[in-house]
Subunit: 193 residues, 2 copies
DNA sequence: TAGCTATGAGACAGACCTGTCTCACTACTT
DNA sequence: AAGTAGTGAGACAGGTCTGTCTCATAGCTA
C-alpha cells in the first residue's frame, strides 16, 4: 500500500477534469486533454476510473460534496430561515461574480446526458435534489411540511434560473432580483394562509 | 431556380437535426446521423449549411421563431397581464407534459457552447432575452418600466428553473409551484410600492 | 536484497468526427 | 434540344475519440 502519492494522483485527475469540464463541457473535453493537463499517464487514469463516464460521475459527486460542506458551514451563521436562505443566496452571488464562472456544472450535465437512467444524469439530479431538500428542511422550521416543499421548489427554480441568467452575463440583475423574489416568497409563506 | 424540392430539403434537414439534437445533444449528434435520418446526401447538407455550427444556429433560430409565433397567438387570448402570463405558463405546462420533452434546447446550447462569443451561444441567448422582453412589455401595461424589467427577470428565472425541474421528472410540481409564485409576484408588483 | 505497487510513456486498435471531392443523374427552364 | 441548378452516393483525408496493451522504472516494504 502506498500512502501519499497513490491517491494524490486520483484526486488530481478529478480536479483537473473538473476545471476542463467546467470550461469546455463534457463531450468536448477529451481524455487526452485531461491527462495532458493533469500530467498523468493514460493508464494511471484508466486504472483509477474504468471509463470517462465514471470519471464524470466522480467529478460531479466530488463537487457536490464540496458544495454541501460549504453550505453546512454557512447554515450555522444564520439563525432565522430568512437569514439561512440569505446565506445561500450570498454564496451564489459570490459564485456568479467569481473569475471563471461558467454556469452550473450539474445543469450542464443534465443537458449533455439527457437520459434519466444515465449515471451522469442521476449524479447531477442528486445534487439538485440535495439543495432542494436542504432548503426544505430550513423552511420546515416555520411552516408545515407540504408548504415548505412548495416554497423550496420555488427557491430552487429561482436559483437555477438565476444561474442561467448569470451565465448570459447578467449576474448582478440575476442575483438581486432572485433575492428579492426569494425573500418575498418566504415571508409571504410564513404567514398562515 | 427550383421551386418546390429545393428549399424543402433544407427545411427537412433543419427539422431532422432539431429532433436529434433535442434527444442526444449537439456534440453527441454527428453529421452522418443527421443526413442518414433525413435521407439526404452529405453534400446536400453542406451546400445549404457551411458548417455544423451554422446548422445548429439555424435550428435554434427556427425553433425560436416557432416559439415566438405560438406565443404571439396566445397573447391575444389574454386580456390582463395576469391572463397573458398565465397563457405563457399554460404553454409551458403542455410542453412539459408532451411525449418527448427533453428540457430546453436553448439552455442546452448555452451549456454545450459556453463561450459567449460563440454564434450558438448568442443564438440561444437571443431566445431567452426575447422571452424576457415579451414578458416585460406585457408587464409594462400595469407597472413602471424598471419594475416590469425586474419582474420579467424573475418570471424568466422561474420558467427556466421550472423547465430544469421538469426535466428531472417533476413536471407537475414544477409548473404548479412556478405558476403560484409567478402570479403572486405579478399581483404584488401591481400594487404601488 | 527481493518483491510488490503505482506510475510513466507511448504505440495501437477501431471507431467516429467534420468537411471536401468526384461523378452521375434528375428535372426544370429557356 | 441545350443548359442549369439541385441532388444522390460514396470515397476520401486528416483528425480525434475512447480504451487496451506492453514495457520500463521509481519507491516502498518485508
Amino acid at each position: 500500500m502506498t500512502s501519499s502519492p497513490g491517491s494524490d494522483k486520483r484526486q488530481h485527475v478529478v480536479e483537473t477534469a473538473y476545471a476542463l469540464f467546467k470550461r469546455a463541457g463534457f463531450h468536448a473535453t477529451g481524455i487526452d486533454r485531461i491527462i495532458a493537463e493533469a500530467e498523468v499517464a493514460k493508464m494511471t487514469m484508466y486504472r483509477h476510473f474504468p471509463s470517462k463516464d465514471e470519471l464524470i460521475v466522480e467529478v460531479l459527486d466530488y463537487r457536490a460534496r464540496r458544495f454541501e460542506s460549504q453550505l453546512d458551514r454557512l447554515a450555522q451563521e444564520g439563525i432565522t430561515p430568512e437569514q439561512k436562505i440569505g446565506k445561500i443566496l450570498d454564496w451564489h452571488e459570490r459564485w456568479f461574480r467569481s473569475p471563471d464562472f461558467h454556469g452550473c456544472l450539474f445543469a450542464h450535465a443534465l443537458a449533455e446526458f439527457g437520459d434519466p437512467r444515465h449515471p451522469v444524469f442521476k449524479a447531477a439530479a442528486r445534487q439538485k435534489n440535495g439543495l432542494k431538500r436542504r432548503m426544505q428542511s430550513i423552511l420546515e422550521e416555520v411552516m408545515p411540511r407540504d408548504r415548505a416543499e412548495s416554497v423550496a421548489t420555488v427557491l430552487l427554480m429561482l436559483i437555477e434560473g438565476a444561474t442561467l441568467v448569470a451565465q448570459m452575463g447578467q449576474a448582478d440583475t440575476a442575483i438581486r432580483d432572485a433575492r428579492k423574489a426569494a425573500l418575498g416568497i418566504v415571508a409571504a409563506s410564513r404567514r398562515p394562509q
